[in-house]
């Protein structure tokens, strides 16, 4: 279902208090108590609506015909065989179950440790094959235990929050008998103490479980080593695969435990904080309660004697107002700023680097010379060609290299000669696919002969 539908049909799915919400609770309670059949009549619905309006002191009784259309969607149905009879849908019942579970979590009074050990106990001797491990702790199998633990932690969180609210409420009571109050604190507090112990044990068993699971994973890893010398590739692959699968399981559970850790730490903090507060409170409970009473009196007095004004309240003329050290910082933001006449920038003359200059000039000269030499050689080749001599390219290159001692010149000449051959239709180029190495072995050429 798209989330849009959830928004649109929210009221049908979760009817508000007097639009059927209280009605289904009351009907369900009556059915549970045996005061009503599973199938009930219109008259019984109307009676229940009247009871609700009295119980919650409503100005008028909610009329069935106003709310029935909404309820008929998901919550209440007409009996097909017995017209005039209605029943609560399974959805309505599961909705009520869910709400009751939230308020009265089945895990509230069960130690977390018990749930935990039920699912996270590892007997190493039982794990022989990877399938054993997957059957016990695979991702699919663990989704249920994970849900239980998460629900349990959530229940714990709710419980702590409720206890917190209760503690704060107790403090609000103006009970003069400090003894009774401290006693009430202690009762609420006992819950925190028990919970703290429970949590510590869970952390311990969790760590133990992870350690043992790591041992199982190590065991699968060791099995890879054992088959190292085997020639059976299938077996070898299987062992690696087994180890990978066991590592996956470890990772999955470790990740879940990180979340558990997070929640447990939050609960611990709450317990710790409350415990600190409690000891503090016992120390100077009466002084503090007294002090608060005085503050309330002063606040009450101010509230009673103050008057409204558009800019803020006005107190009695003689009411002492108090001062604080408060020096306003003065930061000036200047919109216009007259700059003093700017100093001209000094020109820094960098002396020429003679060595560098010479180096660069040499480079240029060398390059020019190279081009010149190439040109001379190309002219020489042209001359030879015009005298109807044949040129064998590798021989030419070797000759040039021997004379000039520069391979780039030989290469440059060869490229130009080949280019010349392709430009000029009178010059033929004959290529044999036979590799000939040049003198310095950096380049091998096909046997190329150029004729005119």
């Amino acid at each position: 279902m798209s989330s849009e539908a959830l928004y649109n049909q929210y009221n049908l799915l979760l009817p508000s208090q007097f639009d059927g919400g209280y009605l289904i609770i009351a009907l369900d309670e009556k059915i549970e108590a045996g005061d009503l059949d599973e199938q009930f009549t219109l008259k019984e619905i109307e009676e229940t609506l009247t009871e609700i309006s009295h119980r919650f002191e409503q100005p008028s009784v909610r009329q069935w015909h106003h709310i029935k259309d909404n309820l008929f969607h998901y919550i209440i149905k007409n009996h097909l065989d017995e017209p005039g009879k209605y029943f609560l849908t399974d959805y309505a019942k599961s909705l009520l179950d869910m709400m009751r579970n939230k308020l009265n979590s089945p895990y509230k009074n069960q130690p977390l440790k018990k749930s935990f050990e039920e699912f996270f106990t590892l007997r190493i001797e039982e794990i022989k094959e990877i399938e054993d491990l997957e059957r016990k702790f695979g991702r699919m199998v663990m989704s249920f235990p994970k849900k239980i633990i998460t629900d349990h932690l959530e229940g714990l969180d709710d419980e702590l929050r409720e206890a917190y609210i209760k503690l704060n409420e107790l403090l609000g009571n103006e009970i003069q008998e400090a003894v009774a109050l401290v006693k009430a604190f202690a009762l609420t507090f006992r819950k925190f103490g028990e919970r703290a112990e429970d949590i510590t044990e869970v952390v311990r068993s969790k760590d133990k479980f992870l350690r043992e699971l790591q041992m199982v994973v190590d065991h699968f890893f060791a099995a890879i080593d054992h088959t190292k010398l085997s020639t059976d590739e299938v077996l070898k692959n299987k062992k690696v695969e087994d180890w990978k699968r066991s590592s996956e399981i470890y990772k999955d559970i470790e990740k879940f435990f990180t979340v558990v850790d997070h929640k447990i730490n939050a609960s611990r903090r709450q317990i710790y904080n409350a415990s600190e507060k409690l000891s503090e409170l016992q120390e100077y409970f009466s002084t503090r309660a007294n002090y608060r009473l005085q503050i309330q009196k002063l606040l009450g007095y101010v509230l009673q004697t103050a008057k409204y004004s558009a800019n803020g309240i006005v107190l009695e003329k003689n009411f002492p107002l108090k001062s604080l050290v408060y020096e306003q910082s003065k930061m000036f933001y200047l919109k216009h700023h007259e700059f003093t006449k700017q100093q001209p920038n000094a020109l820094i003359i960098i002396p020429s680097d003679v060595a560098y200059e010479r180096e660069e000039q040499d480079k240029i000269e060398h390059e020019i010379n190279r081009q010149q030499t190439i040109n001379e050689w190309v002219n020489k080749v042209k001359q030879q060609l015009s005298e109807r001599k044949n040129i064998v390219l590798d021989e030419l290159m070797n000759t040039i290299f021997t004379e000039e001692q520069d391979f780039s010149i030989a290469y440059g000449v060869a490229s130009e000669v080949v280019a010349l051959a392709s430009e000029n239709p009178d010059i033929n180029i004959e290529i044999k696919q036979q590799l000939t190495a040049t003198q310095q072995n950096e380049l091998a050429l096909w046997k190329i002969k150029i004729t005119t």
Binding site: V302, Q304, I313, L315, K317, Y326
Partner: protein, 229 residues
């Protein structure tokens, strides 16, 4: 030992590298009324490590009392006047008298702080303040002094609420500045904020009145009568 004493009186500590680096910030915060708790770690630890020297410094040069206070298990520093005078801050631009609205909202927050004793962080949302104004025992008084009119039906319009938001917001702004509350992420009407232990400073400046509340009221009434006669 003698050296140490010399150090305290000679302000030599100001030349220590760490003090030199952060003095301007700390001085500015203190003089602008800030209550510095551990949240402002650099400033707090600087004051804590050089408490004697700083105390002497402010006493001699500003005639102000650097107070290291502690409430609800948390410490904080602030500057206060010595009992008799307002130090060298007699110029009105250098001290600030809390306004009537600030005093009222301050007392209101102080009461919430005490009420929420067991909460580690006392985060207040606007909905809670709104509830106090509309539903608490003192609702009539709150409505009368904030809206100028008590309506049991609570039918105050957006403009009327807008004025209340404005008044309360400006108080929260100041309290945030001086470290009594800490604003959280902004929300549409009034931002959520945490009430810090330093709010107890307000109780402290009204200590005389609170210690013998009945005598204080009698005194007020007497002054009032004297004025009339």
């Amino acid at each position: 030992m003698e050296d140490k004493n010399n150090d305290i009186t000679s302000y030599g500590f100001l030349f220590e590298e760490r003090v030199e680096k952060h003095f301007a910030d700390v001085n500015f915060m203190l003089l602008s009324g800030k209550h510095i708790d551990e949240k402002y770690y650099t400033a707090f630890s600087l004051l804590e490590d050089n408490a004697e020297q700083f105390t002497r410094f402010y006493k001699n040069l500003y005639n102000l009392n650097l107070v290291a206070d502690r409430f609800d298990g948390r410490s904080y520093f602030y500057l206060d006047f010595f009992d008799t005078a307002k130090g060298k801050f007699t110029d009105s631009s250098r001290h600030k008298e809390l306004t009537e609205t600030q005093t009222l909202v301050g007392l209101m927050l102080l009461d919430i702080y005490y009420k929420r004793f067991f909460d580690e962080h006392k985060i207040v949302r606007w909905a809670e303040l709104r509830n106090i104004i509309l539903e608490s025992e003192q609702q009539d008084a709150y409505k009368r002094i904030l809206f100028s009119e008590v309506r049991a039906s609570n039918t105050y319009d957006a403009r009327e609420w807008g004025n209340v938001h404005k008044k309360i917001n400006s108080v929260i702004d100041l309290f945030d500045k001086i470290g009594w509350v800490e604003k959280q992420t902004p929300s549409e009407d009034v931002p959520d904020f945490e009430i810090k232990p330093a709010i107890n400073r307000l109780a402290k400046i009204y200590e005389r009145e609170l210690t013998d509340f009945e005598a204080f009221i009698l005194e007020l009434k007497k002054e009032d009568n004297d004025d009339i006669s």
